[in-house]
Protein backbone atom coordinates (compact mmCIF):
# COMPACT_ATOMS: atom_id res chain seq x y z
CA UNK A 1 0.00 0.00 0.00
CA UNK A 2 2.77 2.46 1.01
CA UNK A 3 4.68 1.49 -2.13
CA UNK A 4 1.74 2.36 -4.36
CA UNK A 5 1.07 5.61 -2.45
CA UNK A 6 4.72 6.73 -2.78
CA UNK A 7 4.76 5.76 -6.46
CA UNK A 8 1.65 7.88 -7.05
CA UNK A 9 3.16 10.79 -5.07
CA UNK A 10 6.40 10.59 -7.08
CA UNK A 11 4.76 10.64 -10.49
CA UNK A 12 2.04 13.13 -9.55
CA UNK A 13 4.74 15.52 -8.35
CA UNK A 14 6.80 14.96 -11.53
CA UNK A 15 3.72 15.62 -13.68
CA UNK A 16 2.93 18.81 -11.76
CA UNK A 17 6.54 20.03 -11.95
CA UNK A 18 6.94 19.35 -15.68
CA UNK A 19 3.57 20.78 -16.77
CA UNK A 20 3.98 23.89 -14.59
CA UNK A 21 7.58 24.56 -15.63
CA UNK A 22 6.92 23.90 -19.32
CA UNK A 23 4.29 26.62 -19.66
CA UNK A 24 6.04 29.43 -17.78
CA UNK A 25 8.27 30.97 -20.45
CA UNK A 26 6.10 30.24 -23.54
CA UNK A 27 3.02 31.68 -21.78
CA UNK A 28 4.89 34.83 -20.72
CA UNK A 29 6.13 35.33 -24.28
CA UNK A 30 2.88 34.49 -26.12
CA UNK A 31 0.69 36.53 -23.71
CA UNK A 32 3.27 39.32 -23.84
CA UNK A 33 3.18 39.68 -20.07
CA UNK A 34 6.96 39.59 -20.36
CA UNK A 35 7.28 43.01 -22.02
CA UNK A 36 6.04 45.32 -19.25
CA UNK A 37 8.01 43.24 -16.73
CA UNK A 38 11.31 43.41 -18.59
CA UNK A 39 10.79 47.13 -19.23
CA UNK A 40 11.22 47.58 -15.47
CA UNK A 41 14.69 47.36 -13.89
CA UNK A 42 14.60 43.58 -14.00
CA UNK A 43 17.15 41.49 -15.89
CA UNK A 44 16.29 38.42 -17.92
CA UNK A 45 18.40 36.36 -15.49
CA UNK A 46 16.34 37.60 -12.54
CA UNK A 47 13.14 36.87 -14.44
CA UNK A 48 14.27 33.29 -15.15
CA UNK A 49 15.38 32.78 -11.57
CA UNK A 50 12.03 34.12 -10.35
CA UNK A 51 10.23 31.58 -12.53
CA UNK A 52 12.45 28.78 -11.21
CA UNK A 53 11.82 29.76 -7.59
CA UNK A 54 8.08 30.21 -8.22
CA UNK A 55 7.61 26.76 -9.79
CA UNK A 56 9.67 25.19 -7.01
CA UNK A 57 7.53 26.82 -4.35
CA UNK A 58 4.48 25.37 -6.08
CA UNK A 59 6.17 21.93 -6.19
CA UNK A 60 7.02 22.25 -2.49
CA UNK A 61 3.41 23.07 -1.67
CA UNK A 62 2.19 20.08 -3.74
CA UNK A 63 4.70 17.77 -2.03
CA UNK A 64 3.66 19.00 1.41
CA UNK A 65 0.00 18.27 0.63
CA UNK A 66 0.74 14.85 -0.92
CA UNK A 67 3.07 13.75 1.90
CA UNK A 68 0.64 15.06 4.54
CA UNK A 69 -2.14 12.90 3.07
CA UNK A 70 0.25 9.93 2.91
CA UNK A 71 1.33 10.35 6.54
CA UNK A 72 -2.24 10.78 7.83
CA UNK A 73 -3.33 7.60 6.03
CA UNK A 74 -0.20 5.72 7.24
CA UNK A 75 -0.77 6.92 10.83
CA UNK A 76 -4.42 5.80 10.79
CA UNK A 77 -3.38 2.45 9.34
CA UNK A 78 -0.69 2.11 12.03
CA UNK A 79 2.15 1.90 9.47
CA UNK A 80 3.80 5.23 10.23
CA UNK A 81 7.23 5.31 8.51
CA UNK A 82 10.42 6.39 10.33
CA UNK A 83 12.49 9.56 9.86
CA UNK A 84 13.67 8.32 6.49
CA UNK A 85 10.38 9.67 5.10
CA UNK A 86 11.64 13.21 5.81
CA UNK A 87 14.82 12.45 3.84
CA UNK A 88 12.67 11.01 1.07
CA UNK A 89 10.64 14.23 1.03
CA UNK A 90 13.80 16.38 0.83
CA UNK A 91 15.39 14.32 -1.95
CA UNK A 92 12.11 14.25 -3.88
CA UNK A 93 12.01 18.04 -3.70
CA UNK A 94 15.63 18.26 -4.90
CA UNK A 95 14.92 15.95 -7.83
CA UNK A 96 11.88 18.07 -8.75
CA UNK A 97 14.00 21.24 -8.66
CA UNK A 98 16.42 19.56 -11.07
CA UNK A 99 13.53 18.56 -13.32
CA UNK A 100 12.09 22.09 -13.23
CA UNK A 101 15.46 23.55 -14.30
CA UNK A 102 15.67 21.02 -17.15
CA UNK A 103 12.10 21.75 -18.31
CA UNK A 104 12.64 25.54 -18.17
CA UNK A 105 15.79 25.10 -20.28
CA UNK A 106 13.97 22.94 -22.84
CA UNK A 107 11.03 25.38 -22.93
CA UNK A 108 13.37 27.90 -24.59
CA UNK A 109 14.25 25.43 -27.32
CA UNK A 110 11.08 23.41 -28.02
CA UNK A 111 7.37 23.94 -28.49
CA UNK A 112 5.22 23.49 -25.41
CA UNK A 113 3.90 20.03 -26.40
CA UNK A 114 7.33 18.78 -27.45
CA UNK A 115 8.85 20.07 -24.23
CA UNK A 116 6.25 18.33 -22.03
CA UNK A 117 6.73 15.05 -23.91
CA UNK A 118 10.54 15.20 -23.90
CA UNK A 119 10.75 16.31 -20.26
CA UNK A 120 8.48 13.47 -19.15
CA UNK A 121 10.48 11.00 -21.24
CA UNK A 122 13.72 12.32 -19.73
CA UNK A 123 12.17 12.11 -16.26
CA UNK A 124 11.30 8.47 -16.88
CA UNK A 125 14.72 7.83 -18.41
CA UNK A 126 16.59 9.62 -15.63
CA UNK A 127 14.55 7.76 -13.02
CA UNK A 128 15.26 4.32 -14.45
CA UNK A 129 18.36 4.69 -16.60
CA UNK A 130 21.11 3.67 -14.20
CA UNK A 131 19.13 0.62 -13.04
CA UNK A 132 18.37 -0.37 -16.62
CA UNK A 133 21.96 0.18 -17.73
CA UNK A 134 23.39 -1.89 -14.92
CA UNK A 135 21.16 -4.77 -16.08
CA UNK A 136 22.29 -4.66 -19.71
CA UNK A 137 25.80 -3.20 -19.34
CA UNK A 138 27.60 -6.54 -19.76
CA UNK A 139 25.67 -7.32 -22.95
CA UNK A 140 26.64 -4.06 -24.68
CA UNK A 141 29.81 -3.49 -26.68
CA UNK A 142 31.38 -1.05 -29.13
CA UNK A 143 29.34 1.98 -30.13
CA UNK A 144 26.29 0.86 -28.13
CA UNK A 145 28.34 0.70 -24.96
CA UNK A 146 29.94 4.10 -25.60
CA UNK A 147 26.56 5.67 -26.31
CA UNK A 148 25.07 4.14 -23.16
CA UNK A 149 28.01 5.35 -21.08
CA UNK A 150 27.81 8.83 -22.60
CA UNK A 151 24.15 8.98 -21.65
CA UNK A 152 24.97 7.60 -18.22
CA UNK A 153 27.38 10.44 -17.50
CA UNK A 154 25.26 13.15 -19.18
CA UNK A 155 21.77 12.48 -17.84
CA UNK A 156 21.08 13.29 -14.21
CA UNK A 157 20.30 10.15 -12.21
CA UNK A 158 16.99 10.90 -10.57
CA UNK A 159 16.86 7.33 -9.23
CA UNK A 160 19.60 8.31 -6.77
CA UNK A 161 17.03 10.62 -5.15
CA UNK A 162 14.44 7.86 -4.74
CA UNK A 163 14.20 6.47 -1.21
CA UNK A 164 10.67 5.06 -1.72
CA UNK A 165 11.84 1.46 -1.35
CA UNK A 166 13.75 2.23 1.85
CA UNK A 167 10.70 4.01 3.32
CA UNK A 168 8.44 1.05 2.48
CA UNK A 169 10.85 -1.48 3.99
CA UNK A 170 11.48 0.58 7.13
CA UNK A 171 15.17 1.35 6.60
CA UNK A 172 17.11 3.60 8.93
CA UNK A 173 17.76 7.15 7.66
CA UNK A 174 20.66 7.40 5.20
CA UNK A 175 23.95 8.99 6.30
CA UNK A 176 24.21 12.78 6.23
CA UNK A 177 27.08 12.71 3.70
CA UNK A 178 24.77 11.03 1.20
CA UNK A 179 22.33 13.92 1.50
CA UNK A 180 25.16 16.45 1.17
CA UNK A 181 26.54 14.65 -1.89
CA UNK A 182 23.11 14.47 -3.54
CA UNK A 183 22.42 18.14 -2.73
CA UNK A 184 25.68 19.16 -4.43
CA UNK A 185 24.93 16.79 -7.32
CA UNK A 186 21.48 18.37 -7.86
CA UNK A 187 22.77 21.93 -7.42
CA UNK A 188 25.50 21.27 -10.00
CA UNK A 189 22.98 20.14 -12.60
CA UNK A 190 20.55 22.97 -11.71
CA UNK A 191 23.30 25.59 -12.08
CA UNK A 192 24.31 24.20 -15.49
CA UNK A 193 20.73 23.98 -16.77
CA UNK A 194 19.70 27.43 -15.49
CA UNK A 195 22.96 28.88 -16.80
CA UNK A 196 22.26 27.46 -20.25
CA UNK A 197 18.62 28.64 -20.09
CA UNK A 198 19.77 32.11 -19.00
CA UNK A 199 22.22 32.36 -21.90
CA UNK A 200 19.49 31.31 -24.35
CA UNK A 201 17.03 33.84 -22.91
CA UNK A 202 19.68 36.56 -22.85
CA UNK A 203 20.29 36.15 -26.59
CA UNK A 204 16.67 35.74 -27.60
CA UNK A 205 14.91 38.47 -29.60
CA UNK A 206 11.62 39.10 -27.80
Amino acid sequence: MSQIALFVITWSAILIAVTAAARQMPAEISNRTLYPLLAKPLSRWEFLLGKFVGVNLMCLFSLVVLYAIFLIVAWRAGTMPGWIVAQNFYLRFLSLALLVAMTLFLSLLLTHAANVCLSLLLAIGASTFSTALSLVHDKLSGLQLRLAEALYFTLPHLDLFNLNGKVVHGWEPVAAWVLVYLTLYALGYIAQLLGAAGLLLQRRML
Partner: protein, 257 residues
Protein backbone atom coordinates in the same frame (compact mmCIF):
# COMPACT_ATOMS: atom_id res chain seq x y z
CA UNK B 1 21.97 64.46 -22.32
CA UNK B 2 19.27 63.33 -24.77
CA UNK B 3 16.39 61.22 -23.50
CA UNK B 4 16.75 58.96 -26.54
CA UNK B 5 19.64 58.86 -28.95
CA UNK B 6 19.70 56.35 -31.80
CA UNK B 7 22.52 56.29 -34.33
CA UNK B 8 22.43 54.24 -37.54
CA UNK B 9 20.25 51.51 -36.06
CA UNK B 10 20.05 48.37 -38.17
CA UNK B 11 17.89 45.45 -37.03
CA UNK B 12 17.56 42.20 -38.90
CA UNK B 13 15.33 39.23 -38.16
CA UNK B 14 16.76 35.85 -39.15
CA UNK B 15 14.51 33.88 -41.49
CA UNK B 16 16.32 30.57 -41.44
CA UNK B 17 19.77 29.14 -42.10
CA UNK B 18 19.64 29.38 -45.91
CA UNK B 19 17.57 32.53 -46.33
CA UNK B 20 18.71 36.14 -46.09
CA UNK B 21 17.50 37.92 -42.96
CA UNK B 22 14.64 40.38 -43.06
CA UNK B 23 15.93 43.92 -42.49
CA UNK B 24 13.23 45.61 -40.38
CA UNK B 25 15.22 48.73 -39.55
CA UNK B 26 17.74 49.99 -42.08
CA UNK B 27 19.84 52.72 -40.50
CA UNK B 28 17.52 54.83 -38.38
CA UNK B 29 18.99 57.78 -36.49
CA UNK B 30 16.89 59.89 -34.19
CA UNK B 31 17.12 62.00 -31.09
CA UNK B 32 14.55 62.94 -28.48
CA UNK B 33 15.39 65.74 -26.07
CA UNK B 34 14.14 65.91 -22.47
CA UNK B 35 10.66 67.43 -22.20
CA UNK B 36 9.75 66.74 -25.82
CA UNK B 37 6.63 64.90 -26.96
CA UNK B 38 7.50 63.06 -30.16
CA UNK B 39 5.13 61.08 -32.36
CA UNK B 40 6.71 58.13 -34.13
CA UNK B 41 4.66 57.42 -37.23
CA UNK B 42 4.70 55.00 -40.08
CA UNK B 43 2.52 52.49 -41.88
CA UNK B 44 2.20 48.92 -40.62
CA UNK B 45 5.51 47.08 -40.97
CA UNK B 46 7.50 50.31 -41.19
CA UNK B 47 9.76 49.33 -38.27
CA UNK B 48 8.19 51.36 -35.45
CA UNK B 49 7.69 48.52 -32.97
CA UNK B 50 11.10 47.06 -33.83
CA UNK B 51 12.74 50.41 -33.11
CA UNK B 52 10.82 50.76 -29.86
CA UNK B 53 11.72 47.21 -28.81
CA UNK B 54 15.37 48.03 -29.52
CA UNK B 55 15.10 51.01 -27.17
CA UNK B 56 13.97 48.63 -24.43
CA UNK B 57 16.64 46.02 -25.17
CA UNK B 58 14.08 43.39 -26.20
CA UNK B 59 15.77 42.90 -29.55
CA UNK B 60 19.38 43.36 -30.45
CA UNK B 61 20.53 45.53 -33.32
CA UNK B 62 22.84 44.20 -35.99
CA UNK B 63 24.63 47.51 -35.81
CA UNK B 64 24.16 51.02 -34.51
CA UNK B 65 24.13 52.68 -31.13
CA UNK B 66 21.21 53.32 -28.78
CA UNK B 67 21.25 55.38 -25.60
CA UNK B 68 18.23 55.81 -23.38
CA UNK B 69 18.47 58.42 -20.61
CA UNK B 70 22.23 58.40 -21.14
CA UNK B 71 22.65 54.65 -20.71
CA UNK B 72 22.85 51.73 -23.16
CA UNK B 73 19.42 50.43 -24.21
CA UNK B 74 18.09 47.62 -22.02
CA UNK B 75 20.51 48.30 -19.17
CA UNK B 76 19.14 48.52 -15.64
CA UNK B 77 19.97 52.25 -15.22
CA UNK B 78 18.21 53.05 -18.51
CA UNK B 79 15.04 51.28 -17.30
CA UNK B 80 15.01 52.81 -13.83
CA UNK B 81 13.32 56.07 -14.93
CA UNK B 82 11.46 54.67 -17.92
CA UNK B 83 7.78 53.85 -18.45
CA UNK B 84 6.75 51.58 -21.30
CA UNK B 85 3.37 50.66 -22.73
CA UNK B 86 3.62 47.71 -25.16
CA UNK B 87 1.54 47.55 -28.34
CA UNK B 88 -0.37 44.53 -27.12
CA UNK B 89 0.12 43.14 -23.65
CA UNK B 90 -1.91 41.13 -21.26
CA UNK B 91 -1.54 41.53 -17.56
CA UNK B 92 -1.89 38.68 -15.07
CA UNK B 93 -5.65 37.93 -15.05
CA UNK B 94 -5.58 36.61 -11.49
CA UNK B 95 -4.37 39.94 -10.09
CA UNK B 96 -6.44 43.06 -9.49
CA UNK B 97 -5.39 46.44 -10.91
CA UNK B 98 -4.09 47.48 -7.48
CA UNK B 99 -2.07 44.26 -7.06
CA UNK B 100 -0.71 44.65 -10.58
CA UNK B 101 0.52 48.17 -9.91
CA UNK B 102 1.95 47.18 -6.53
CA UNK B 103 3.93 44.43 -8.27
CA UNK B 104 5.31 46.81 -10.92
CA UNK B 105 6.05 49.43 -8.27
CA UNK B 106 8.07 46.91 -6.26
CA UNK B 107 10.00 45.93 -9.40
CA UNK B 108 10.86 49.63 -9.75
CA UNK B 109 12.10 49.70 -6.15
CA UNK B 110 9.60 52.40 -5.19
CA UNK B 111 9.61 52.85 -1.41
CA UNK B 112 6.81 50.76 0.12
CA UNK B 113 5.47 53.69 2.16
CA UNK B 114 4.98 55.88 -0.92
CA UNK B 115 3.96 53.05 -3.21
CA UNK B 116 0.40 52.54 -1.96
CA UNK B 117 -0.33 56.26 -2.23
CA UNK B 118 1.17 56.43 -5.72
CA UNK B 119 -0.80 53.37 -6.84
CA UNK B 120 -4.07 54.93 -5.67
CA UNK B 121 -3.23 58.24 -7.36
CA UNK B 122 -2.29 56.52 -10.61
CA UNK B 123 -5.43 54.38 -10.62
CA UNK B 124 -7.53 57.51 -10.09
CA UNK B 125 -5.65 59.25 -12.91
CA UNK B 126 -6.48 56.51 -15.44
CA UNK B 127 -10.09 56.29 -14.27
CA UNK B 128 -9.97 52.94 -12.51
CA UNK B 129 -10.97 54.16 -9.04
CA UNK B 130 -13.70 51.95 -7.59
CA UNK B 131 -12.61 49.01 -9.79
CA UNK B 132 -9.09 48.64 -8.45
CA UNK B 133 -9.81 45.43 -6.54
CA UNK B 134 -11.56 43.61 -9.41
CA UNK B 135 -9.50 40.81 -10.99
CA UNK B 136 -8.18 41.79 -14.43
CA UNK B 137 -9.87 38.77 -16.02
CA UNK B 138 -13.14 40.67 -15.53
CA UNK B 139 -11.80 43.82 -17.24
CA UNK B 140 -12.67 44.85 -20.79
CA UNK B 141 -9.87 45.39 -23.33
CA UNK B 142 -10.08 49.15 -22.82
CA UNK B 143 -9.84 48.81 -19.04
CA UNK B 144 -6.80 46.52 -19.44
CA UNK B 145 -5.22 49.19 -21.64
CA UNK B 146 -5.83 51.68 -18.82
CA UNK B 147 -3.99 49.31 -16.47
CA UNK B 148 -1.17 49.25 -19.02
CA UNK B 149 -1.07 53.04 -19.11
CA UNK B 150 -1.15 53.11 -15.30
CA UNK B 151 1.86 50.79 -14.98
CA UNK B 152 3.76 52.84 -17.54
CA UNK B 153 3.28 56.16 -15.73
CA UNK B 154 3.60 54.77 -12.20
CA UNK B 155 6.41 56.45 -10.28
CA UNK B 156 6.56 59.50 -12.59
CA UNK B 157 9.22 58.19 -14.98
CA UNK B 158 11.33 60.78 -16.82
CA UNK B 159 10.75 59.10 -20.17
CA UNK B 160 7.62 57.34 -21.37
CA UNK B 161 7.56 55.14 -24.46
CA UNK B 162 4.15 54.13 -25.73
CA UNK B 163 3.73 51.67 -28.59
CA UNK B 164 0.34 52.16 -30.27
CA UNK B 165 -0.88 54.48 -27.62
CA UNK B 166 -4.66 54.38 -27.87
CA UNK B 167 -5.02 50.79 -29.06
CA UNK B 168 -8.18 49.24 -27.62
CA UNK B 169 -9.53 52.44 -26.09
CA UNK B 170 -13.03 53.75 -26.79
CA UNK B 171 -13.60 57.49 -27.52
CA UNK B 172 -14.02 58.26 -23.81
CA UNK B 173 -10.81 56.37 -23.05
CA UNK B 174 -8.99 58.28 -25.78
CA UNK B 175 -10.20 61.59 -24.43
CA UNK B 176 -9.06 60.60 -20.92
CA UNK B 177 -5.72 59.47 -22.30
CA UNK B 178 -5.20 62.78 -24.07
CA UNK B 179 -5.92 64.55 -20.78
CA UNK B 180 -3.36 62.35 -18.99
CA UNK B 181 -0.72 62.97 -21.65
CA UNK B 182 -1.39 66.70 -21.64
CA UNK B 183 -0.85 66.69 -17.89
CA UNK B 184 2.39 64.70 -18.26
CA UNK B 185 3.54 67.04 -21.00
CA UNK B 186 2.80 70.07 -18.84
CA UNK B 187 4.84 68.43 -16.07
CA UNK B 188 7.82 68.34 -18.44
CA UNK B 189 7.89 64.57 -19.02
CA UNK B 190 9.47 63.22 -22.19
CA UNK B 191 7.06 61.14 -24.26
CA UNK B 192 7.90 59.08 -27.33
CA UNK B 193 4.97 57.28 -28.83
CA UNK B 194 3.83 55.50 -31.94
CA UNK B 195 0.27 55.82 -33.08
CA UNK B 196 -1.95 55.49 -36.10
CA UNK B 197 -4.29 58.12 -34.67
CA UNK B 198 -3.05 61.21 -36.46
CA UNK B 199 -5.56 63.51 -34.74
CA UNK B 200 -4.03 62.44 -31.43
CA UNK B 201 -0.54 63.10 -32.77
CA UNK B 202 -1.57 66.56 -33.93
CA UNK B 203 -2.96 67.43 -30.53
CA UNK B 204 -0.11 66.14 -28.41
CA UNK B 205 3.20 66.30 -30.24
CA UNK B 206 5.96 68.84 -30.48
CA UNK B 207 7.61 66.90 -33.25
CA UNK B 208 6.92 63.95 -35.51
CA UNK B 209 9.16 61.34 -37.03
CA UNK B 210 7.77 59.42 -39.98
CA UNK B 211 9.44 56.19 -41.02
CA UNK B 212 8.83 53.56 -43.68
CA UNK B 213 10.76 50.46 -44.76
CA UNK B 214 12.98 50.93 -41.72
CA UNK B 215 14.18 54.41 -42.71
CA UNK B 216 13.37 57.89 -41.44
CA UNK B 217 11.42 59.77 -44.11
CA UNK B 218 10.70 62.92 -42.18
CA UNK B 219 11.68 64.39 -38.84
CA UNK B 220 10.12 67.75 -38.25
CA UNK B 221 8.42 69.94 -35.69
CA UNK B 222 4.64 69.93 -35.94
CA UNK B 223 4.69 73.67 -36.64
CA UNK B 224 6.85 73.18 -39.72
CA UNK B 225 4.71 70.24 -40.81
CA UNK B 226 1.63 72.45 -40.57
CA UNK B 227 3.36 75.05 -42.74
CA UNK B 228 4.43 72.41 -45.28
CA UNK B 229 0.94 70.87 -45.42
CA UNK B 230 -0.64 73.95 -46.96
CA UNK B 231 -4.14 73.24 -45.70
CA UNK B 232 -4.10 69.49 -46.35
CA UNK B 233 -4.95 67.12 -43.52
CA UNK B 234 -2.15 65.43 -41.60
CA UNK B 235 -3.49 62.14 -42.95
CA UNK B 236 -2.98 63.29 -46.57
CA UNK B 237 0.46 64.60 -45.69
CA UNK B 238 1.35 61.30 -44.00
CA UNK B 239 0.22 59.30 -47.04
CA UNK B 240 2.23 61.52 -49.35
CA UNK B 241 5.36 61.19 -47.26
CA UNK B 242 5.11 57.43 -46.79
CA UNK B 243 4.25 56.72 -50.44
CA UNK B 244 7.19 58.82 -51.59
CA UNK B 245 5.29 61.78 -53.05
CA UNK B 246 5.93 64.07 -50.11
CA UNK B 247 9.01 65.94 -48.95
CA UNK B 248 11.86 63.62 -48.12
CA UNK B 249 14.11 64.06 -45.14
CA UNK B 250 16.75 65.58 -47.34
CA UNK B 251 14.37 67.98 -49.04
CA UNK B 252 12.43 68.88 -45.92
CA UNK B 253 15.52 69.59 -43.91
CA UNK B 254 14.31 67.61 -40.92
CA UNK B 255 16.11 68.13 -37.68
CA UNK B 256 18.71 65.57 -36.90
CA UNK B 257 21.58 65.86 -34.48
Amino acid sequence: MSAIRVENLVVEYPKGPFRPPHRAVAGISLCVEPGEVVGFLGPNGAGKSTTIKSLLGFIFPKSGRIEVLGHPAGSRPSKRRLGYLPEVALYYPFLSARETLLMYGRLMDLPERELKKKVDETLALVGLSGKEDVRLKHYSKGMQQRVGIAQSILGDPDLMIFDELSSGLDPVGRRDLRAILSRLRAAGRTIFFSSHELSEVELLCDRIIIINHGRVLLEESLEKVRAQREGRSLEDFFVEVTTGDGPSRGEGGGRHD
